[in-house]
Point group: C2
Chain length 456, copies 2
């Protein structure tokens, strides 16, 4: 039986696939809020049962937090692991939703039909594309499309506290030839993408201490050091006039984009004006000699994500505060060493402290950048499959964000990962009125059928 | 009858004077909190009645806020106006008080006896020094010590909203030859002072707008302008490497200290090391070629009193915020033009804005510096009187703070003001466990007797 038969089965079964997704979306599996603990359990059980119905040996496995769903099934030379997450973001502010976030609905919009609900795109809709692909395959062939392990997490939206211990404890069971991760997006509304570069992340919180108590600026203004001024001076030095970061050694390990990737990115005809215009901007703010796409996909950054100190309420208070604070984060690329950069940043701050000031640091995570193993033939195979389905050449893209799971598969299990997803930029993930396009769901299922046909 | 007789009367009557002050301190006249409206009325009535008992024609005069107490009495060539305020600061956090803030108590401390209560120093204890001086004078002479107008405000701790309208509406009634203000301190524990320079104040709140919404730094970090970075760059430019303020025209109207004042300040032997050491500092942070005393009394400043933007809660959020904010204040001296500086500051900020950013300003008051008319013989007379009482030469001092009333007497009523007060640095005004030294209260009364004997 041909691939077309399976794809026809996907098309015919779409209404039922949507019903199953809506069932899953009705479970408010908000992982960060303990009030929804039982709902997370329920979502895990629902998925384990669904996997069992597909012939997987599957169960919801307890952790100190929410369960992991693990299923094994099928046979073949190549062992594929699929990762997704069944937990969702909180829904507040609820008042900004047009309907109950856990009462999913199919809606007609000017851009086509969508499934509206929390988790529709991130990540229940996306993970179900893979399960539905398996279902259609099984219906036609009577077997799963190869040797598969399914690994579904319930804490992705709350920092994944149980993930590393669980992966370490079950390494032998989880290790496969390659991991497939469905938690990313299309390149644009019609162009499929494989994410091949992920930026790393280093987070630092700094507190500058000056006087031993808050002072009155009438009494001490001019004579006493003001920690807010110290902090602004230091942070203002983070970038030079050309947008480069000034911390010594910061660019160690930052490599130029391979020519093949650069050429491919150029062929994407990324609409820089629209990208910036969508958020009210017109001029790229990064390094002078880089395109916005490079700035967000392949160049490291330093940003101040939060700053506070002194009086911030209504009216005015002429205080010289004893402290000032900032949260600073770095997006990392290539072989930048997150821990070495933490030390370099701290030394750089320390060197700029004036007399009478001290600084306190608090680390907030450090993960290296991820570069996918695109030389693996699986990448080319998946790219062809996506191109066949979408009618447009699939793009190898970078991602400005950090998806730690890809790095963890490499460091803990020694396996490469391939990130393929079907979200659109306007899916409003993490925001009110999240949606997933029916078109993305449908073509996503068909895409996995084609990929599995090539890989497994 | 001699001056000594009046001073002896002050000494003999001290226990009763303390009882009266404690009565006034028992009234919780917190002006900023509407819950204490009736208590403010009660304090005003108490003072009007006390003035009447001294022979003043006095009453509590209604305003849209709390009443003004105005009394007229005595006769003579020279007409003196005395200003004080009967309202007090809030008491929170109440848990840091060792006793009920409105149950005053005389306490023995290692540094002498004190009156402990909210308002003991600021300003009920201070204003009562003047009334008790009048009382002793009246008891001995049968008359008040000259032509006096008493003007007591009930909104000083809440921004004085009714003050300017009341002064304008009653200008003819309030105008005198000179105003005496008792709301300042000694130079040090034993050295009396006349405050001859007050710094002005300009407050500005700025908001930098960048993207039209908060952005995710994974998605936009590097390419999108970050308002926090823009704000820190601008604020870092407020001062050059020598501590001078860089706003064009900022120093227009700033004059060097007259040689006589400079010499007198040098003779004060101000303990710079202790001044800074008390708050955990060791190095003066202002202009390189100035002493700390100049920095706080006679030099203008620019300070950031508050800054905020982005994520400031626990943990980390990789946001690029749409806005960043700061509250900036300037202490002004000499003839600096507060309104011209507001324009200059705003233009200076505007000039530094990168593309795609806008700035919004909010003004928070603008008052010029005050320089007292020390050529008026009243100053020399008061100085001699204070020197006689305290046994140490009275100092002409500056004040880093801003006391708008002194400027208002000049601009609205055309009269100069003389600021004499007896507070000590450790009085904890505006803080828990406020106190006033019995010694200050006692010598304060005696000081006014001596001053009135010379002036009125």
């Amino acid at each position: 039986m041909s691939l077309d038969t399976v794809l026809a089965r996907v098309d015919a079964d779409l209404p039922q696939a949507l019903d199953r997704l809506m069932d899953l979306l009705r479970i408010p599996s908000i992982s960060t809020d303990p009030a929804f603990k039982a709902d997370c359990d329920r979502a895990a059980d629902w998925l384990a049962a669904d996997l069992q119905s597909l012939g997987f040996t599957a169960s919801a496995r307890p952790t100190p937090g929410h369960p992991m769903v693990v299923g094994h099934g099928g046979s073949g030379d190549k062992h594929l692991l699929f990762y997704g997450h069944y937990d969702v973001q909180p829904v507040d502010p609820l008042s900004l939703w047009d309907r109950d976030p856990f009462d999913p609905e199919i809606q007609d919009t000017p851009k086509g039909r969508v499934i509206r609900a929390r988790g529709a795109s991130d990540d229940k809709g996306q993970l179900m594309t893979f399960l539905e692909a398996c279902r259609a395959w099984k219906a036609v062939h009577g077997t799963l499309p190869g040797r598969l392990t399914i690994f579904l997490e319930g804490e992705e939206e709350s920092g994944s506290p149980s993930l590393v211990p669980f992966m370490k404890d079950n390494a032998a069971e989880l290790r496969a030839d390659i991991a497939l991760i469905c938690d990313t997006g299309l390149f644009d509304d019609e162009t499929p993408a494989i994410t091949t570069m992920l930026r790393g992340l280093l987070g630092e919180e700094i507190t500058i201490h000056g006087p031993n108590k808050d002072l009155h600026s009438g009494m001490y203004g001019g004579a006493a050091i003001n920690p807010i001024r110290v902090l602004t001076k230091i942070l203002a030095n983070l970038h030079d006039a050309t947008g480069r970061i000034t911390i010594p050694g910061f660019y160690d390990g930052v490599t130029e984009l391979p020519e093949a990737i650069r050429a491919q990115w150029q062929s994407l005809a990324f609409d820089h004006a629209k990208f910036l215009g969508d958020v009210g901007l017109s001029v790229p703010a990064g390094e002078h000699d880089r395109t916005p796409l490079e700035m967000i996909w392949s160049r490291p950054t330093a940003e101040v994500n939060g700053i506070w100190g002194g009086y911030t309420g209504d009216g005015f208070k002429t205080v010289l505060p004893a402290q000032a604070h900032a949260k600073v984060s770095f997006r990392l690329v290539g072989d930048q060493d997150a821990l070495a950069l933490r030390d370099a940043f701290r030394a750089w701050v320390q060197d700029q402290l004036p007399p009478d000031c001290t600084v306190e640091f608090k680390g907030h995570g450090a993960s290296p950048a991820g570069t996918m193993a695109i030389a693996d033939p699986a990448f080319d195979a998946a790219r062809k499959a996506l191109t066949d389905e979408w009618g447009k050449p699939a793009a190898y893209v970078g991602s400005g964000g950090s998806i730690p799971i890809a790095g963890l598969f490499k460091t803990i299990l020694g396996m490469d990962a391939m990130l393929i997803g079907f979200a659109r930029d306007d899916d409003q993930i993490h925001s009110p009125n999240e949606k997933y396009d029916l078109d993305c769901f449908h073509k996503g299922i068909r895409s996995w059928v084609r990929i599995l046909a090539k890989l497994a």
